[in-house]
Structures are given as C-alpha cells and as structure tokens.
C-alpha cells in the first residue's frame, strides 16, 4: 500500500512527558498502583491512562451552528487472574483514587501476592502519524474555511441540493500504559474526520447523500487531491442526486460486483470479527477450529495491518502497549491466524498480534481489527463488470453487522447499479446484502488489480465499545450473493 507519509523516528518524540509533567504521574506511583493491583494474588495488572481532547465544528444551513470541545481524563486498572479480569476506573488521578481503583480491581483474585512488578521497558515503535498540537485558534479558523468550502461546493453542484451540513471532528488522544510484566508505552494519537451530508429534492422525490474522510492526519491532509472539501461535497451531492432517479433494487440471489475501497466492509463483517481470538478461544465463532482450512477462494488473501501511516485504523502501539503489526488472516483462501490480545495470546498459546484495543479508560481491552483489506489480484475491473450477465454493482455501503456464532452477516449498499449484459445501467435504491461468513468468500471468482482503502470513515462496534478502523478491497466478483431489494 502507498504510504501517506514516512514514519517519524521514535526518539524524536516523548509522549509520556505529558502524563508526568502535566498530570503529575511518577514512575514510583505507577509501581505502587501496580503492586496494589497484584496484592490479592493477580497474575498480571496494567494501568491505562488516557487524556482525550476533542473538537467538533459544523456548518448547517450556511452558518456555523455547532462548535464544541470535550475533555476526558482518566485511568483504567485491570487485573488478570487465570481467565478472570478485574477492572476499575477513575476520572480522578489523585494517588488516593488511583490506589483505590487498583484495590478494587485486585479483588478479582483472592490470596496472597505472588507476582512482583517488573522493571519497565519502553515499547519502541515507529511513528505512523503526526503529533498535532492542541487545537489553537488559528487551526479553528482553518477548519471553518474547509467547512465553508464544502458548503459552497455542495450548493453549487446542483440547484436540487436543498440542505447541506458539513462538519469536521477531530481529537487528540494521549495514552500511557504501564503493566506489571514491564510493558511501558505511551502514544499521542490524532484523528480527524470530515463529513458532508446533503438532501436533494426534485418535484417527485427527496434523497440523502453523504461523504467523508480523514485519518490520523493534520489539516493539511484535506488539501491533498481527492481529500479536499470540494471532493467530499461533490460526492455527497452526486450520490443524493443519483438516488432521486433510482429504481427498486433487485431481490434474490445473483452475481454481485463490489467496487474498490469501502466495500471492504464485507471483509470486516464476513471474516474479520469471526477471527478475533476471544470468540475463538470461547468457541463461539463460526470460524473456531478452522485454521489451516479453506474458507475462501484461492484468489483471496486478507490482512489486518495496524502499521499504515496516517490511516484511521493505525496505531503506533495498541491499548496494551504492544507495537501493532501486519497479520495475515487468510492466505490464498486458507485461514492462517487470529487477532490476539494479551489475555487470548496467553490462554491460547499464540503470538500476540498487537490487537488489544479499548474504547476508553472506562472499558476493558479486547482483540479488535485495525485496517483490514484484501490484497490486489490480476483482473482488470472492466473485465470483471463485462463478465456479468445480470447482477448488482455495489460501490458504496452504509454499514454492516455480523452474528459471529452462525456466521451470518449483512451490509447495506448506499450506491449500487444494475449490471445487464456486462454493462452498468440504472442506479438502484439502497439494499441490504446478506451472506454466510465462512462460505461467502468461496464465491469470489475475480479479484481486481485496483486495491484501494476507504476514505477514513469507519467505526467498529463490539460489545458496546467503538473504535476507529479502516477497510479496503480491490474490485471483486462474487458468483452468488443474496440482494434484499423489492424489484425483479
């Protein structure tokens, strides 16, 4: 994959300084808390400090209506004892409250202390993203300019665009992790997302359209070709107008071609969640016990890669302090591996893939995806479309969902067209596509040479926790998939 920018050397940054200088932490205090957390016999403990500052600016009906800022600071203390997890958090970082949280979490175990806190070794990893400063006034003025540009571009696109909302949300998340096994890591994670939402209306119909993008980037990102406010505005307007004249989506099983980029959400739902180690350790996943077996066509190779510079799903270190990596999930159709965190890698005797993530200091880490995508194949995308007699060409999606136990997944197309005799014809209304995870990718018969990642809009939910992710895919053809429309 093309890198957005080159990684910055580790030594030039010092993420932990914020916690020691601004929040008054000391190594001595971290050790005391960890020791307290292990006092009832726990085998492992970690502290997760988090300070998030987020800003949101939004233009609506031509005026800046929304301006908000949020600050969240806290610490989560976790203690592991066998398969058990004790957890407590506090939004007050005074030594008394931290020690109290540690004592609460400690009680998951019951016995004398057996483990000592190891000396800290700092995780060193390349810097995959810029460290943005706290939102300065100048930056707010810059953001407003970007939003105004999107507003104008959407309204200028067509007189049928009657409502435009444009917004930019960004956050700076600072984390510090200290664990009884000696893990010590800190990071500063920027995240920005630009969004445009429009309503189009003609004398007969009304339709919506939206577009957006971003990543772990600074504002300059939105000056790059294909990332500009005008690009997102025009995309939102174009898709809304398209829907004004859309025909009913077909119903039933047919050939489906998925376009490059965001349709990779298919992989996230069809296989990604099923390969998270916690579900497989508990044997609650339809993929449990399938390592080494054929779960997709031999043309399919899927990886999860947390090390892509600037991407929304990328992380220098995961939320347990491990460096992220590229993990092969499916290689030429064969299931190769799971995504693991500290608990599952220890209990399953597997390597840690640096996939432990959590929504915030108030939540317990779990194995999660980062950027999940299918590698490019050899087919020309135009040949793929030409090969379809009657089918659906879906290029954009709303979102998806999966039941990991029976493997059934859905994803909802927001921009799709009929394919008739190898030609892309009428746009169709939104429709949900449904399939079975361990089976669906066996029907992949063509894989394009046009791998793309999504624009940077994905948020994944699992057990009530949301984390930013990326997905990607080349154009692919599935010989069989069920399309949930109302038409013929």
């Amino acid at each position: 994959m093309a890198a957005a920018s080159s990684p910055v050397p580790f030594d030039s940054l010092d993420h932990k300084r914020y916690f020691f200088e601004k929040l008054g932490l000391t190594e001595r205090l971290l050790e005391r808390c960890l020791s307290e957390a292990l006092s009832a016999g726990g085998e492992f403990a970690d502290l997760y400090f988090e300070a998030v500052s987020s800003t949101s600016l939004g233009m609506d009906e031509g005026i800046i209506k929304t301006a908000s800022q949020g600050i969240s600071v806290g610490c989560g203390v976790r203690v592991l004892s066998g398969e058990r997890t004790g957890f407590a958090y506090t939004d007050d970082l005074s030594p008394e409250r931290l020690l109290k949280a540690a004592r609460t979490a400690a009680l998951i175990a019951s016995g004398p202390q057996t483990q000592r806190v190891q000396g800290f070794t700092e995780t060193r990893s390349p810097q995959l993203y810029p460290v943005a400063g706290a939102s300065a006034d100048a930056e707010i003025a810059e953001k407003i300019k970007l939003i105004e540009r999107a507003n104008q571009a959407a309204r200028a696109f067509d007189p049928r665009i009657v409502q435009v909302r444009a917004s930019i949300n960004d956050e700076l998340r600072r984390i510090l992790i200290a664990a009884s096994d000696g893990t010590f890591a800190s990071d500063t994670q920027p995240l920005a997302r630009f969004n445009v939402f429009v309503i189009a209306k003609d004398e007969h119909n009304t339709a919506r359209g939206s577009s957006g993008g971003g990543g772990r980037v600074t504002l300059e990102h939105f000056d790059l070709a294909g990332k500009t406010p005008e690009h997102f505005a025009q995309e939102a307007a174009r898709t809304a107008l398209l829907q004004l004249d859309a025909v009913a989506a077909p119903a039933g099983e047919m050939e489906v071609v998925l376009g490059p980029g965001w349709p990779g959400v298919l992989l996230h739902e069809a296989v990604g969640h099923g390969l998270e180690a916690d579900f497989n350790r508990k044997k609650t996943s339809a993929f449990a016990g399938l390592i080494g077996q054929q779960v997709a066509s031999s043309k399919v190779t899927v990886v999860d890669n947390g090390t892509m510079p600037g991407r929304r799903g990328s992380l220098n270190v995961d939320d347990e302090g491990n460096a992220t990596q590229e993990t092969v999930l499916i290689e030429n159709g064969i299931l190769r591996g799971y995504l693991t965190d500290k608990l599952s890698s220890r209990l399953m005797g597997m390597a840690n893939t640096g996939s432990g993530r959590r929504e915030s200091y108030q939540a317990i880490p779990m194995p999660r995806m980062t950027n999940t995508y299918m590698l490019a194949g050899e087919d020309d995308p135009t040949d793929i479309l030409k090969s379809v007699k009657r089918g659906l060409y879906a290029v954009n999606f709303g979102g998806g969902q999966v039941d990991i136990t029976n493997g059934k997944f859905v994803f909802t197309a927001s921009e799709a067209y009929l394919i008739e005799d190898g030609k892309v014809t009428a746009p169709v209304k939104g429709a949900t596509l449904v399939g079975n995870g361990p089976e669906a990718l066996k029907y992949v018969s063509m894989v394009g040479n046009d791998l793309a990642l999504d624009e940077g809009i994905g948020t994944c939910g699992k057990a009530g926790q949301s984390v930013p992710v990326g997905v990607g895919m080349p154009t692919i053809k599935l010989d069989r998939m069920t399309v949930g429309g109302t038409g013929r």
């Binding site: 929040l23 005026i63 908000s68 800022q69 398969e83 039933g252 949930g484």
Partner: protein
C-alpha cells in the same frame, strides 16, 4: 493538578459554578448539565467469573450563548476534569468557541415561562439497587447461565451471562432560573447460550430481565430457560425462495420498526426535509389502526414477585424534565394513522414556528437533540397466536440485522432470521434472508396488531403483521 482541588463535591453547586463562570466570561446565557454515576458489572461464563467492573464517574457539560444582532451565537463543552483549573479552562474554551460560530436567530435557551418539572413522584430511583451484595449478583448471573445450560444437551457452550447495576444522578441548571435534578437506578441480568446441532452448526440467542429495583427482577432460572429455548429453536435454520408474502414481526423487532414512526416525526428531520413525513402534519401517514404515543411520564404499577406487594415504578424512558428543562408529557404523535404532533425540542419548534413537545434529549456535549420518553403502539385485541394462525404462508421475524432503514425515502431492507409460517403454525427456522418494502406503504399495510404489549425497555410495540413485503432468499 495531581491533587484535585475540586470546586465542590456537590453536583448542583458545580453546575451553578460553571454557569456563573460563563456569565462572568461575558455569556448572556448559560446552561450546565452534570452527571455522576456508579456502575457495577459482572460477566460470568461457564460458571466462572470472567470480568468484574466496579467504578464511578462524573462529568459536566456546558452550553454558552452570546446575544448578537439578529440572534445568538452558541458553543458547548464537556469535561471529566472537575478541578478548579479544569473547570475554568473549559469555560474559557466555550466562551472562545462561541465567537467563531454564526448568529442563529433560532438559537437560545427556552423562554422563562416554558420551563417545568413534573411534580409527581416518578419512582425512578430505588436505593435497594445497591443493597444486593456483589456475591449475590454474581450468583444470579451464574444461576441464570446454569439454567440455560442444563435445559438441553444441545447446549454445551455459552457466550456468557452478566449482571449489571447502576445508579446515576443528573442535574441541570441554567441562567434563566431553571434548576432540576433526578436520580435513577437500574439493574439487569442476561444470558446468551449457544446451541449446537449434530452437524456442528451453532446458534446463539439471549434473554434478559431488567428493572429499577432488584425486587422486580424475574427469576434467573426462568430467564435462563427462555434463553435456551430461543437459541434451540434457531437450530436447523434454512433459506427460503425469493417471494412476496405477509410478514409477522415479533415484539422485539416491531418495537424498532414501528419506532420509525416517531423517528420520521422528529422535528430536526422534518425541518430539514430529511423525513418522509416532512410537510405531512395533519395527514394520513399510516393505517387507521395505528396510534403511536410518546410519553415521558409513564409510571407503572408492578407486583413484587416475592411478596405480592404493589410497587409504583417509572418507565425506562421516564424523566421529570427534558433536555431543555421543559416538563415531559404524553404526546399522541400518530392517531388512527394521522400525524397529529411532532417530536420537538425548543430549537426545532422555533424552526417550524411551533411549540416544543418536550422531547429534547441532552447528553453532556453538544446541543439538545430529539429523543422521546417511553413510547408504545396502541395494542389490538387478538392474541399473537391467533394473529399468526391467520397466515397460510409467510414469515415470522424474530431478529433483524443491518442499517437498511432510510427515513428520507422510507425504503426498508434488512437481513433477518425467524420462522416460516405454514398454515398458521411455525414450521421451521429460517435465516440468511432479507425483507424489504417501503415504510410509507408498510405502515398502511399493517393488517393486524396483537394485544401483547409489554414494556421491557423504554418503548413497547405488540406483534404486528404487514402484508405484501418482499422476502429475498435462495
């Protein structure tokens, strides 16, 4: 900042202090919301405790307003750092942010006379939610899972059981004299057993009990048994051919589907033309059998299973005031299919030249959105069984998946699972199929509504049957 010198330990005083700081910073109006809560959560799997969480948190949100030529500028902030420095810096940030916003002639706090708090006791808080010792809570989750696991030999695994308890307090103070607060309690337990048939294919399903006091929780054994039955009945699910047929929605699914009647009546979507009900106030938007009510004041009378005593208890969507500080109320949004009222907060009411219907929802950050209280569809008189018995060939939907609900156009397309109905009986389980239609037509094609209205959450809708939907499958 390592040792926090908190402005005050009292949430009201903290909120008042934030408002005062904002006014001192030049704001013409300000409004603060404070929230604090305690949370207990335990996850049990295969009889063993898997996760135990115990914590408390508090945070504050603030909106500031500056009068300007032709309207107001406004900004909002939120923080969990309630130290003196933390509070001062976030108030300063709000004041600075407001300067960059545009003048909005509809922005601003409600008029003084609009504020109100429901005077009757809404029975939202029961102090015995904290009285059950952790060991007993863990035991309830264990018993629930054990009942599910022992129900049938085809259940040998579990995605776990859990018990959650929480109590929270919320206060709201503004510069126009409103000051209110309330406390709520909640507890629940649930289990998700996994059933497996001889060919190795697995199905999961869940069941739960929730209440404001542990006295009203159902028996863990009963909940475990229901969860087991729900998982088992999904085994052997197959696909069905693509066709048009009547679809029966179980209460868990119809609650979401019919809830779209209120989502489409959302004032924010209406003024933006982003709803299929835009411009339809006073018009027929559903069949004459459809009456949909949103009521933020619902209080139920429940019988305590152990003692038989009657207890008044507030609904899960009940509150004494809305996110703008207006008294909550009962609103008949759809009456016999006619769109009678909209779901409005102060801002959207002003945009539409109407009066708020007390449906403002307010988190910590941002301006109030729209959110109802308790809602329900007026039930019919027939039982769910007889409603099903009338179907010769059709689909009974017990769960849906996906995001295929478009409130602008009404287009509806969801993945689903459930049962095939043959001659009025559930014949076999089905999955990996979709149902689709257009909600504008679906709401007119409701051919039957059952009498099984049970509030298990903020909203409740009985079993409903809709004619002429498309099922896509093999």
């Amino acid at each position: 900042m390592s040792v926090k010198s908190q402005v005050s330990n009292d949430l009201e005083l903290l909120a008042e202090e934030a408002v005062a700081l904002a006014l001192r910073g030049g704001a013409t109006d300000a409004e603060a919301v404070g929230m604090e809560g305690d949370e207990f959560s335990v996850r049990v799997r295969l009889g063993q405790v898997e996760e135990l969480t115990e914590s408390g948190s508090r945070a504050l949100g603030l909106r500031v307003f500056f009068e300007a030529e032709g309207g107001q500028r406004t900004a909002s902030v939120s923080t969990s750092d309630l130290s003196r420095d933390g509070l001062e810096s976030i108030v300063h940030a709000a004041v600075e942010l407001a300067k960059v916003t545009g003048v909005d002639s509809f922005a601003g706090l409600p008029e003084r006379e609009a504020f109100g708090i429901c005077e009757t006791d809404l029975a939202l808080y029961f102090d015995d939610v904290d009285a059950v010792p952790p060991a007993e809570r863990i035991e309830m989750a264990r018993r629930c899972e054990a009942a599910a696991m022992s129900y049938d030999t085809r259940i040998q695994n579990s995605a776990g059981a859990g018990f959650d308890a929480s109590s929270s307090r919320r206060v709201m103070v503004n510069s126009r004299g409103f000051s209110g607060g309330y406390r709520r309690s909640y507890c629940s337990f649930a289990v998700t057993p996994i059933a497996q048939d001889t060919n190795g294919s697995m199905q999961r399903d869940s069941w739960y009990s929730n209440a404001r006091t542990p006295r009203l929780l159902e028996s863990p054994e009963e909940v475990g048994r229901i969860a087991a039955q729900r998982a088992l009945r999904r085994l052997g699910a197959r696909r069905v051919p693509t066709q048009q047929c009547p679809v029966v929605f179980s209460p868990d699914v119809s609650r979401g589907l019919m809830g779209n009647l209120l989502n489409a009546a959302d004032g924010d979507a209406i003024y933006r033309n982003a709803s299929m009900f835009a411009g339809k106030l006073g018009e027929q938007v559903a069949g004459e059998n459809i009456t949909m009510v949103d009521d933020g004041t619902l209080v139920f009378e429940r019988t305590v299973p152990a003692t038989g005593e009657l207890l008044r208890v507030g609904g899960f969507g009940t509150a004494p005031f809305d996110g703008d500080g207006l008294q909550t109320r009962r609103t008949v949004v759809i009456e016999r299919g006619v769109l009678k009222e909209l779901m409005l907060n102060t801002y959207t009411a002003r945009k539409l030249g109407m009066q708020s219907t007390g449906k403002a929802s307010r988190g910590l950050a941002g301006a109030p959105g729209i959110g109802g209280g308790c809602y329900y569809l007026e039930p019919g008189t027939m039982s769910a069984e007889s409603l099903l018995a009338e179907v010769k060939n059709g689909l009974y939907v017990t769960s849906t998946m996906g995001f295929g609900t478009n409130l602008v156009t009404g287009d509806y397309s969801q993945g689903c699972s459930g049962f095939w109905i043959e001659n009025g009986e559930l014949a076999y389980a089905v999955e990996e199929i979709t149902i689709a239609g257009n909600m504008k037509e679906m709401f007119r094609n409701v051919s039957a509504i059952a009498n099984d209205l049970h509030f298990r959450g903020a909203g409740a809708v009985p079993t409903v049957r809709i004619e002429g939907m498309t099922v896509a499958g093999s």
